[in-house]
Chain length 221, copies 2
């Protein structure tokens, strides 16, 4: 029996979606972020030493890291190989986006959020002014020159196809959903209509809607 | 014919190591970071739109993202399945560390480096004082509480085994080498003797030494 240890408003939403997409029976154990710090609760550390979500248990196995969980669930339960091609360019594309999501895109979005929050703590006015300037400088010098080409690459890819690996949904789309949803809350995506269309496509999927029903709607990513 | 587009002092070092470990014939095209900004040169964008390294070409194929390159090279050329288990806990462990390296550990190390550099730009003394305080605050509140348990997890894993997935080297060790080498330059690892031993093990491997010979020694990570 699979159990998903699910933290509200987290990367775990996509594992919930994958479980629904595969039509699996599973249990869900809910964890709530600290309302002040947004941290995951200590109780998650009983499941895996890093205390992060997503993490799943399946019988005796405990599996963490979104990408590794996705690979495990596909190996074990995607018997029709619907969500991961087994060869050719589609397999290469699947792997690229699977790794790109957390290896390239998400780190910049996390850093951007930390920088956006840095000047928001209580501090004297003149310190806040400097904090804002430093935050802008880091975003302008380090984050934006890397983030913009990445968003453009996603946009250009989606100009030619319905989903990231072709005309059918793959688990790479599930992995990419969270950073793209997070992007939409942290930057102006009005120049990227294909990403907007893609996010609406996701919202319309029955399995995604079930995931939202069970896990809660994502906000303040 | 495989060509590795290799940037000095980068994640690409481990792909070079993997190519040597697999005993493959390959070409190497060298790219140099800008000595002032440390950025990759524009010429890398001709190979892949993000202009990042590593990226390989193999015949008509262009493959980016370290984890995806590793999976591709193992699928195509690790015919004896020496560097990736095909089943059981060793496969799960391989996948965990493959994704953990860039999905969890490396983003924190990049953010730490950006924060360490933030107060080092030319600025008036009182601004520098505030920049240092803000950098320390981000490290103390966000980075360290996440980074320390991750380093501890690696240390504890290596207390029980020679390599991260067991007694034999796997490609997950190659993927993990760069963030651990980067950790050693950005934090005090004296309390983590197993990681120190592990990094020495890597340095002693003939294939790793050949990679250093061809790609240059890593420094100022």
């Amino acid at each position: 029996m699979i159990t998903l240890h699910h933290l509200n408003n987290s990367r775990s939403q996509r594992i919930l979606w994958l479980l629904e997409e595969l039509g699996l029976e599973y249990g869900i154990k809910q964890y709530q972020r600290d309302p002040v710090t947004s941290s995951a609760p200590e109780s998650l550390k009983a499941i895996h030493p890093l205390g992060k979500s997503p993490v799943i248990t399946d019988g005796d196995l405990t599996i963490a890291e979104s990408g590794a969980i996705i690979e495990y669930l596909l190996d074990s339960y995607d018997t029709e190989k619907r969500l991961r091609s087994t060869k050719g360019q589609a397999l290469l594309d699947y792997r690229y986006w699977l790794h790109f999501a957390e290896g390239s895109l998400m780190p910049l979005l996390v850093m951007k959020l930390v920088m956006m929050k840095m000047p928001k703590n209580p501090m004297p006015f003149f310190v806040k002014t400097i904090a804002k300037a430093l935050s802008n400088k880091v975003q302008e010098m380090f984050i934006s020159p890397r983030l913009t080409p990445q968003i453009e690459l996603v946009e250009n890819t989606l100009a030619n196809r319905t989903w990231l690996t072709g005309e059918e949904l793959s688990a790479a789309d599930i992995q990419m959903s969270f950073p793209l949803q997070a992007s939409a809350t942290r930057m102006d995506l009005s120049a990227f209509p294909n990403i907007a269309r893609y996010l609406k496509q996701i919202d319309a999927l029955p399995a995604y809607q079930k995931a939202v029903e069970r896990g809660g709607k994502l906000d303040t990513l």
